[in-house]
């Protein structure tokens, strides 16, 4: 339709309404329109834009997200929480309609608690993803929009599932969801490997979200970072996205020697850490570490691609 092209609004792919569920009522629409189409064209733009990511590695699962809730071009909340704890060993990153996400997660929390009491053991991440996707698939076609990554550590180790409100349930190692996800995927795919250290993982997650907030208008605010370990989930940090990005920009390029920078003391440790890690990760393409002259051979081959930001990762970890 012409109006849709002008507004650049994509028609969501929906099936007919489920016969067992009540009609989406409550909207007085002009004669001749059905509520769904009307809402699509004229309805309020619900909060949709975001950048969330999650990846699993040897030491657990990392979940990170921005904190901007946007409604079209209006920032409804610059400091919202997009990573929701579901259980003591389970987190979910939420993207899509904030109201839908929060509501369904509350329902999920209740169901998991009941399951734990009945079975006497913590529910598995696979079972939780299954439960969420079956709960939501009943509402297919009713404009429910929940795109979430469930992160947890259960008897099978660190586990990560992507669940979408049409019933999709996928298992994987890296997921990024939201309008800023292409930018985050670029950074993640570059530097992810399963045997990262915890600090490398934190840096990678922060870097990916920071880059996404830089380019995507609907992502911004701060960067939340969570880590799920065997003992449960922990809230690592919240850092301002703009500050984080500026730090990454300031870092020196590859070719320079490691000069003592005018930064506070705690930064020295990550450098030393990175040196040791670089030794270990010589064979694998890891984040760039200029100190490791010997192992840096493969990285020096591509001078321009490994940009200043990568160095920044290793240096700036603790300051943020």
């Amino acid at each position: 339709m012409a109006l849709q092209d002008v507004c650049k609004w994509q028609v969501p792919d929906t099936q007919g309404l489920s016969p067992h569920l009540p009609e989406a009522g409550g909207w007085a629409v002009p004669r001749g329109c059905d509520p769904q189409t009307f809402l699509q064209i004229y309805g309020p733009r619900l909060a949709h834009g975001t950048t969330t990511l999650a990846f699993r590695f040897r030491h657990g699962v990392i979940a990170a997200a921005d904190t901007r809730s946007s409604c079209g071009s209006y920032v409804a909340c610059p400091a919202s929480r997009k990573v929701i704890p579901v259980h003591r060993h389970l987190l979910g990153t939420t993207s899509g309609t904030s109201a839908d996400c929060v509501t369904w997660y509350r329902v999920l929390q209740r169901e998991l608690r009941l399951r734990e009491l009945r079975e006497g053991q913590l529910p598995s991440v696979a079972g939780t993803a299954k439960l969420l996707s079956t709960m939501m698939s009943r509402y297919r076609g009713l404009d429910l929009c929940v795109a979430t990554a469930l992160c947890g550590w259960d008897h099978s180790g660190p586990a990560l599932f992507y669940v979408y409100s049409d019933g999709t349930c996928l298992q994987g190692d890296i997921f990024s969801v939201g309008s800023g996800s292409p930018y985050a995927y670029g950074v993640l795919d570059r530097s992810y490997h399963y045997d990262m250290t915890i600090q490398e993982a934190y840096t990678l997650a922060r870097c990916a979200v920071a880059h996404a907030t830089h380019r995507d208008a609907y992502s911004g605010g701060s960067v939340d970072l969570f880590h799920v370990q065997e003992s449960g989930w922990e809230y690592v940090s919240r850092s301002d996205a703009y500050m984080l990005y500026m730090e990454l920009q300031k870092a020196p390029g590859l070719e320079q020697e490691r000069e003592p920078e005018p930064e506070p003391e705690p930064e020295r440790e990550p450098e030393r850490e990175q040196e040791q890690e670089a030794e270990v990760s010589q064979v694998r393409p890891g984040p760039a570490t200029p100190q490791d002259a010997a192992g840096g051979g493969e990285l020096f081959v591509e001078p321009e691609e490994v940009t200043a930001e990568d160095d920044g990762i290793t240096v700036k970890t603790e300051m943020i």
Binding site: E119, P123, S124, G127, K130, L131, T134, H155
Partner: protein
């Protein structure tokens, strides 16, 4: 007095009995014996096979049934009731896998069967299931388990147990002979089960059905030949033990 309170099962008697449930337990005592043993790395189920008529095909009588790859059960009591319970349990095993993405634990399926049995002791117009079940298997954590359910809907974990006719005799035998060394070895655990059954079964090996589950392996039913082998070994050991005894005394 009992006769006034045993018609409808939903009625308690003045002294707190549910007579229909107790009569169901009597029906179980009429069934052929089944014995279950939990070893360190193996679980064993043995049942007494009732002698079949000449023209009857033996293979259609099955008292040990797999509920899933890692769980199986034997029962004592009404065969038809057992068939219904086993079907429901098998469906539940698969439903559980579908919703929770994990195979059932032995305790879960036992609880399901016990809850099912209890429902039938509390609804009008139905009678309780006339079976007791021995449910064995290995959980994901590799620990072997043995549970017993009865018609009232209770279940307990056991190290070794017997149900059906002469269950008391067999249980006493097990209490005397179930030792740590008896179950440490897989073949010793199997022999213990056969020995326990031989106490009460007539004409030895032909009337015994045996099944084992080893950790991470599916159910294995013993053929008649294998059982014969075991029985002959047991008898040999018995003779040697008696010879030693007589030598010592003379």
């Amino acid at each position: 007095m009992a006769s006034r309170y045993d018609r409808a099962i939903t009625v308690f008697s003045p002294d707190g009995h549910l007579f229909q449930v107790e009569y169901a337990q009597e029906a179980v005592k009429k069934g052929s014996t089944a014995v279950g043993i939990r070893g360190t790395n193996i679980v064993v189920l043995g049942v007494e096979k009732k002698s079949v008529a000449k023209l009857q095909d033996e293979r259609t009588v099955r008292k040990i049934c797999a509920l899933d790859d890692h769980v199986c059960m034997a029962f004592a009591g009404l065969t038809a009731d057992a068939r219904v319970v086993i079907n429901r349990a098998r469906v539940e095993c698969q439903s559980h896998k579908l919703t929770v993405e994990d195979p059932v634990t032995v305790e879960y399926i036992t609880r399901f069967i016990a809850t099912l049995k209890q429902k039938y002791t509390q609804s009008n117009g139905r009678r309780p299931f006339g079976i007791s079940a021995l449910i064995v298997g290995f959980d994901d954590d590799g620990i072997p388990r043995l549970y017993q359910t009865d018609p009232s809907g209770t279940y307990h974990a056991w190290k070794a147990n017997a149900i059906g006719r002469s269950a008391k005799t067999v249980r006493e035998f097990l209490e005397k002979n179930y030792t740590e060394e008896a179950i440490s070895n897989d073949s010793e655990a199997i022999k213990l089960a056969i020995k326990a059954l031989l106490e009460v079964v007539q004409s030895a090996g032909k009337n015994i059905e045996l099944a084992i589950i080893r950790r991470d392996q599916p159910l294995k039913m013993f053929s008649a030949k294998e059982i014969e082998l075991q029985v002959t070994e047991i008898e040999k050991e018995k003779e040697e033990a008696e010879k030693k005894k007589s030598k010592k005394s003379t």
